[in-house]
Subunit: 151 residues, 3 copies
């Protein structure tokens, strides 16, 4: 089953590939590793899920925000490489902004982790780090960086 | 000398391997690199060293907290791979939470760095980054992410 | 054209290689990847650009601070490896400290990105992540971690 069919079964689709906000490349291939620049919850150019978790953004919406970051990663890989050439996802770094008493970051991070595992199966297995940052560009609640091993 | 003997000489031992707090894997092997998910100061299931450095957690205890994170990394590698198959540690990212006037993070980070170098010698040589985050899951004071090259 | 000539044309030069502030190595080579420890805006031993962006450090000076971090990375690679052996830059992580309403981090990050691309051309192409942290050692406004693929 191809990527779009799998996503459609989950009632999801690939967003438009977002354009780098600076002098870098969204997917940088060196040797057999693809490094994907930080992806934010942007849907077809529209900034979504801005604010802090536990305040403007609920845990449930944080999950959707991380899922949208993950969909942007999938769109970048599909656009630049294609998943036939991908051995698998290596690791993801997840950045979140939250009010101090909020402590649901593992649940929110699963928005990306579930997506990768459900859509890519063994290729989507990954390690991860989560940490709460003070600021992200454009007041985004979350961000996601990843690297992938290619055949 | 094997890992446990070396640790015992330092009056240390391997904690129980901690279980992932979400839909990810603690050690993800892709090609010849092992990516280890963020490890926290957890000893046999017990959360330790919670709070902020410079307030609830002293610099001396921060050193021990980072050492415990490092021991959890060693436990993960020992459990999944074994050190005979390890060429060496690549890089560690260290996250800490502190009150604003506290500036002893390099000392605290050495809790992990000293462990890796003392126990693994050349295999434990590494580069590192340290930065102070706003939030970590479960109010932990520190966290540690690493990657390793395998033979 | 060699590195120093290119830098001189941009009215820049390589700073002295900074010494690790702990028990780690500034450039760690494993297999065909060089991991470079976090670099700060230090010029020949002098700490520069301390404070928060949007307050003590302007956006223009933040750009220069990131450029200086990048020059320190170049100095580390030149000192340990030499650019003839470098296939290219993989990815950079950029940490910044700012007041909450300040939102110019992509511009500031270009201080490093422009340097790598202008000086190294295709070898300097990279992906990047930017996130705003709460604390950095020695009150620095920015920091930069990178990895490089070697031939």
């Amino acid at each position: 089953m191809d990527l779009k069919t799998k996503l459609n079964k989950l009632d999801l689709d690939l967003p438009e590939v977002s354009i780098p906000g600076g002098n870098y490349t969204s997917v940088n291939i060196r040797g057999n590793v693809a490094y994907v620049a930080i992806q934010f919850p942007i849907h077809n150019g529209e900034f979504q899920y801005q604010g802090r978790l536990g305040d403007q953004v609920s845990t449930e919406n944080g999950y959707k925000a991380m899922q949208l970051c993950g969909l942007n990663v999938l769109a970048q890989i599909a656009n630049k490489i294609g998943f036939d050439q991908v051995l698998g996802l290596n690791h993801i770094d997840i950045y979140y902004r939250a009010v101090s008493q909020w402590d649901e970051s593992p649940k929110v991070a699963n928005g990306a982790s579930d997506l990768f595992v459900n859509v890519l199966e063994e290729k989507g297995t990954h390690s991860r780090a989560i940490f709460g940052v003070e600021n992200l560009p454009r007041n985004f609640s979350v961000g996601l960086t990843s690297s992938w091993t290619l055949f």
